[in-house]
């Protein structure tokens, strides 16, 4: 019984900290993109606009929930829940330090892939149930996009799996011991690039947000949603973004390991830093790059997006998996020597 209670508390704590992170992230997003585009960003609510996200949350909670009269009522209401639930469920297997994980299962990596691929249902059902042209177009684009980019993403993850010889996320991090040059980003650099671009595409973020595409299909799949249901979609998108950042850090950037491991002087100097801080610092870098992409690149055209996924990323990952298999056979130190 106490075991169940502990798990419940941990689940609630994870969810609440995720929501707080999302709130801070939206503020950071608007401020940072503001600076990148030589603007000030939000500066009216509270000192330097720090209370802006709170005002946004209050606004979304108080708004009227409108349901289009020709929509499918059950599916229209269940769609935002279907978008949010897998985004939260995936966090069960994400470790933030050695042993700090809710479910340390053997097939953790597969579980994460399965959960991230489920998020598309929320979008597709929302688009169909709204009974609106723009929403349906957004839903169809999204389903095609997510299926296309799941393949290179799975291949990129497969590369890490081959190198670590395990699907357990904690084991994968532990295999990367020994400083920044021992992490998998170096031998698997093409896979990291493919993974990261696919992750941006999977989370429907700019420059791959063709499912929303304000300039083409108004707001895509959530054009008919307002108030709290819209807030749920928003929350799901941002939680997924944070999730793919954590996975990128765990798979390619050594998780909670210090970058100075094994380097004589620096290792001593930074030995006081707790592992969790390294983890969060690396995650913050990847989260920043999301905003950086958004501020830098124009939106991809839909056919270019498909071409990139099928004709460039899939052959590239296939090639690199063969190269990696050869490297593993050669027992190339320091990454692949057992």
């Amino acid at each position: 019984m106490t075991q169940v209670l502990i798990y419940l508390i941990a689940i609630v704590a994870t969810t609440i900290s995720l929501i707080i992170t999302v709130i801070l992230y939206t503020y950071a997003e608007r401020k940072i993109i503001g600076f990148m585009q030589d603007r000030i960003g939000p500066n009216r609510v509270g000192p330097i606009g720090i209370l802006q996200p709170v005002a946004d949350v209050v606004k979304l909670l108080l708004k009227e929930v409108i349901r289009p009269s020709a929509s499918n009522i059950y599916l229209f209401i269940i769609a935002p829940v279907l978008a949010l639930a897998p985004a939260l469920a995936a966090w069960a297997v994400i470790p933030i330090n050695n042993g700090w994980v809710l479910a340390d299962i053997n097939v953790g990596l597969l579980y994460v892939l399965a959960m991230t691929s489920l998020g598309v249902y929320g979008i597709v059902i929302a688009g169909w149930a709204s009974n609106s042209k723009y929403a349906l177009l957004g839903a169809i684009r999204s389903s095609a996009q997510i299926i296309s980019y799941e393949i290179p993403m799975a291949f990129a993850v497969l590369g890490v799996l081959m190198a670590a010889q395990s699907m357990n996320l904690t084991t994968i991090v532990e295999k990367q011991h020994g400083g920044i040059l021992h992490w998998y980003w170096l031998p698997l650099l093409p896979l990291l690039v493919v993974y990261w671009v696919s992750a941006v595409a999977e989370t429907n973020r700019l420059p791959f947000d063709v499912a929303e595409g304000e300039s083409e299909i108004v707001a895509g799949f959530h054009v008919e949603y307002s108030g709290i249901p819209f807030a749920l979609f928003f929350l799901a998108e941002y939680i997924n973004m944070i999730l793919v950042c954590f996975i990128a850090v765990l798979l390619f950037a050594g998780g909670w390991l210090s970058p100075f491991e094994g380097i004589p002087v620096l290792n001593k100097v930074f030995s006081w830093v707790p592992n969790v801080v390294w983890m969060f610092a690396k995650v913050a870098f990847f989260m920043l790059s999301f905003l950086w992409f958004r501020a830098t690149f124009p939106r991809y055209r839909y056919d270019q997006l498909m071409r990139l996924g099928w004709k460039i990323f899939i052959p590239l990952t296939l090639l690199w998996i063969v190269v990696e298999a050869i490297l593993i056979q050669l027992q190339l130190p320091p990454w692949f020597s057992i």
Binding site: V107, L110, L113, A114, V124, I140, E150, D303
Partner: protein, 194 residues
């Protein structure tokens, strides 16, 4: 506790499967099929077959059913016409259903005998996680069958491509290399005001 969960998931799977056939709306039928897969994955998980369960969710729910939904959403299927054919073909369908059911029953009966013989071994595999064990068996004992399945899939891919290929010239496609090579100096002319 575990038995209660099994009953719940089994009931959900059965009801969802029935609803796939009974629902009038094709989109709803596909969604019930997804629910059915989910419940099945949950029962497999309770049998300690975590690799199979997650693969079911990843492959079928995460990819195949998205394509189903994609197609069904685009098509305007009239179920009344489909229903009219139902009565005509129902004897054959019924015979097929009984045959499949008999096959499954036969396999389950044989499996129970096999489980009695190898029960200890199976529970040992379940303890250490079956992903590694499964890989070992597939790539040693059943390598030929595995490769044959791979070739079968390759043939299916080629067949699909052949079916949709409409020749090189019948489509209007943008040439990406040409687009990238476009030079603004040759495209834009500045016209002086006077």
């Amino acid at each position: 506790m575990e038995y209660a969960f099994f009953l719940i998931f089994a009931a959900v799977a059965l009801i969802a499967a029935a609803m796939v056939i009974l629902s009038r709306n094709p989109v709803r039928a596909v969604l019930f099929l997804i629910l059915c897969f989910f419940a099945t994955a949950a029962t497999w998980l309770m049998l300690n077959a975590e690799f199979l369960a997650i693969t079911l969710v990843l492959v079928y729910v995460g990819a195949v059913m998205v394509l189903f939904l994609f197609v069904v959403m685009m098509l305007d299927i009239d179920f009344a016409i489909l229903r009219a054919k139902l009565t005509r073909w129902s004897p054959i369908g019924l015979a097929l259903a009984i045959a499949v059911f008999a096959l499954i029953a036969e396999i389950i009966e044989k499996d129970q005998i096999a489980f009695g013989q190898h029960g200890d071994e199976l529970s040992k595999i379940a303890e250490t996680g079956n992903a590694a064990k499964l890989g070992e068996i597939v790539f040693t004992n059943y390598l030929l069958q595995f490769e044959l399945a791979g070739i079968l899939l390759l043939v299916a891919i080629i067949a699909a491509i052949v079916l949709i290929y409409r020749g090189p010239r019948s489509r209007k496609l943008q040439s990406i290399p040409k687009q990238i090579a476009a030079d603004p100096k040759t495209r834009v002319h500045l016209v002086s005001g006077d």
